[in-house]
Symmetry: C2
Subunit: 488 residues, 2 copies
């Protein structure tokens, strides 16, 4: 990290220019840079460490619940994509095509995977013979490309992105639906327990489902600028893909049956939501569960106290590391404490411990919470439990702010003017009755670029008993509640 970069600091304001502020935090905190090709980014070590943190949590939960990792080819023959007509229609406009290998033109062009149902499902068809082979749960961590022509926004809008995609096959609707919900719950847990972001869960309107899916469910996170982020999706695919790619099994009576399949994915967009949710005009703010460094110790010394302060700091570091915490002792001589405070605030370390000669004499530590600068003094003897409590508190503060934003961000409205006005003025979600017709969404979308980001699950009371008897847009009878919002 060069001096120039460190000394710049964040110059944009989160409140007044959220787009520029976001780009600045991403670059100055060393998370990512823009690649020379529009739509691509370079994920730098501090950004990639966040991805590894997310992977560690999610991959562990997947494995505990019967998922096995695998790896399928990144290139998919065009004829494979075409076997499921919704997939080809849904993704054809945004596929990157490999047409040449070396100096030869290929006989059949190959898609860089935009998602892998069309290569994974045919293999499931080969591997599944009997009911004893089910359920089959596969996942891969990989990158995919979707050639969308939009402005690059690191982690939010990129042509290539890192993600995981899970693909499973089950005997019946019930097994596949349970799977769909298990993964949605894990995504919700990722957001709440790891990223400290409160989320809405729901399903997408039929016209906005994953191509070929029976039901698409998602977690939705509300950003401080009032827009919603689709933070992870879990699809119950019904038997459509099994039919297209011939995934059948012999049941106990040796009768051939169609499998029910699911797919579910979350991408580095979760990192975008993380950065945008908590960070501020000093830079990145990270919850402890995903921070690559959870604690930074900054010694404050004069020439004559250097040795005793440093020794005390090393003791703190080793006690904390022994409990599995990740601790950075910033003992650089060439930087003063103020510079270090700014640097680690910019880079989002959740807890700073300041140690000067007074702390050494009094056998204490001064802990400063990153999100709000709150200062807590603890006895040296209670170091480990005090730091653990402080980290819990930091998580709780971040989550509480997100929870409050979501609670305040859901507003009822009814009637075109009310819906448009409410979203226009406040952003966030507008909750209204909906007749189920796409045209009512289109009306709102055309005027204010807000869409229905979620409707309640079918077994949810809000679906059965909509918030209003009539559709908030057309006034016809409503069949469900719908949540309108602008979204990333």
């Amino acid at each position: 990290m060069s001096d120039e970069t460190q000394e710049l600091g964040i110059t944009e304001s989160k409140e007044h220019s959220p787009g520029e502020w976001y780009a600045e935090v991403v670059q100055k905190a060393g998370l990512a840079d823009y690649a020379p090709m529009g739509g691509f980014i370079v994920t730098r070590p501090r950004g990639y460490a966040l991805w590894e943190g997310l992977q560690n949590h999610l991959d562990g939960w997947f494995k505990q619940t019967g998922v096995q990792n695998a790896y399928f080819p990144m290139l998919i023959p065009e004829s494979y994509l075409e076997a499921e007509k919704d997939i080809v229609e849904g993704f054809d406009p945004e596929v990157a095509w490999v047409t040449h290998g070396g100096h030869e033109e290929l006989e059949e062009r190959l898609a860089v995977r935009p998602t892998s149902e069309s290569i994974i499902t045919p293999f499931m068809s080969q591997w599944i013979r009997s009911h004893r082979d089910l359920p089959m749960r596969l996942n891969q961590w990989c990158s995919v490309i979707r050639w969308e022509a939009t402005d690059t926004k690191p982690f939010f809008r990129t042509k290539e992105f890192l993600w995981q995609e899970g693909h499973t096959a089950h005997r019946d609707r019930e097994g596949a639906w349970d799977e769909t919900m298990t993964r949605l719950d894990q995504y919700e847990r990722l957001y709440e327990d790891v990223l400290a972001i409160d989320v809405l869960t729901g399903r997408k309107p039929d016209h906005d489902k994953f191509p070929g899916a029976d039901t698409t469910t998602s977690v939705e996170a509300l950003m401080p600028d009032g827009k919603s982020v689709q933070g992870g999706t879990s699809h119950y695919l019904g038997t459509g893909f099994a039919e297209a790619y011939d995934v059948t099994y012999a049941d106990e009576d040796e009768e051939e049956q169609l499998a029910h399949t699911t797919s579910w994915g979350t991408s580095w967009r979760a990192l975008g939501a993380l950065i945008m949710s908590h960070s501020d005009d000093q830079g990145l703010v990270l919850p402890p569960a995903i921070a690559p460094e959870q604690v930074v110790i900054v010694p404050i010394w004069q020439e004559d106290t250097r040795e005793e302060v440093l020794e005390y700091c090393e003791g703190l570091q080793s006690d904390l590391e022994a409990t599995g915490l990740s601790v950075n002792l910033d003992d650089r001589d060439e930087r003063n404490p103020g510079f270090k405070f700014n640097e680690w605030e910019l880079k989002g370390i959740p807890l700073r411990i300041e140690v000067g000669p007074n702390e050494v004499d009094d056998e204490e530590v001064t802990m400063v919470h990153r999100p709000d600068g709150e200062n807590v003094v603890a006895d040296r003897a209670d170091l480990v439990s005090a730091v653990e409590d402080a980290l819990d508190t930091v998580h709780a503060k971040l989550f509480a702010a997100s929870e409050e934003r979501l609670e305040e961000g859901v507003r009822e409205a009814h009637g075109r003017a009310d819906i448009l006005g409410t979203i226009g003025q406040h952003g966030g979600y507008v909750k209204t009755g909906w007749c189920g017709e796409e045209s009512c969404e289109t009306e709102i979308k055309d005027q204010i670029a807000a869409e229905i980001v979620a409707v309640p699950m079918e077994d949810d009371e809000e679906h059965e008993t909509p918030v209003h008897d009539t559709c908030g847009v057309c006034g016809e009878e409503s069949v469900t509640t719908a949540y309108f919002a602008k979204s990333y």
Copy 2:
């Protein structure tokens, strides 16, 4: 896993038809399948678990030695590849080109990365300003494509393969050379301590270096069929790439200096070497350090002993798992013990514990080593240490066999007929004097497809004092020892 597949067993012979045998082990042990496009494979869960095992070891060592993971775009603009002329000449014939995004033809075609020097080095150029930014050590785990028109051999010859590629920049030759050696040593350790394969290390002749490199070093593993596998390469790139992509830094006197760079990589070919080295006509054989399941417990019961045997087995499993071992208790009712023995031998679990009523009564366990069927009985009270010893013994047996193969596989020869005859009859390495001219290698290569896979490092006595005074091919003065072999 369907019944049919399980019951087939390995039908080919490793000795008599090694190619067919290898393909059969890979498929029947559930490691990989062939994809519809020639040159691509699907890595199944048992194969991918081996890759994860390799990653866990290597990634830990990398991080302990200052490496940070990052992620760069999978697509590289043609003009970037062209900035380093050796790279473009070396890789152009085997690049997969993306020419279309959605329905549009791209203005500049994009290479699916065959290796990432040409996108990573320009970013290092941006990030490195002063000597304080050095060394910079980046690594990415990703897949790359090299469009070679060869028969697919899973993990050995595939157009797409998984690998890691490390890229570092240093102040001077010494720093970069140390880095090159550190990574070569880690690859050697991977082979020896994890994969239980003895290796040769050395450097490549100048005409066979990585395009643009100053020095290419590698680990070479001898397969049972007498061919050598290049198992990992570590390149000292000198200042050529730094010059091409402008990687400079200000030294202590504020003078601008060119950085010295390295790159190093190992791919899933290591898994190919693993499978081929140890496996046999019963199927896969795995060393414990990389086996996803290290121990399988097979209960042997009758109706009336079922409960006590099973309870005893569960106790074993929980004691072993408490020490961090990965243990599979195969308590399936529908399979008999013989079937289970065969299945877990096919799948390569290093140690089997058999428990019948006698073991329960005598408070013992019977342990069977996968590689050779050796049977060891231990007291139940010593379970954990007995199993740990047994696993160490299994590793030692596998490594000893590999070590013996390598020792016996290096033969001196001098003169064309002797070299050709020795390789033709025995395979393995022929060690001979070499004048340093490529034409002498070509003569051997043209006749028997063997090449110089390694020459000793320049600081090695075998380089300074060649095994023969004269070149084994042309009879001119020799400048180094060379190792000829057929290779994958």
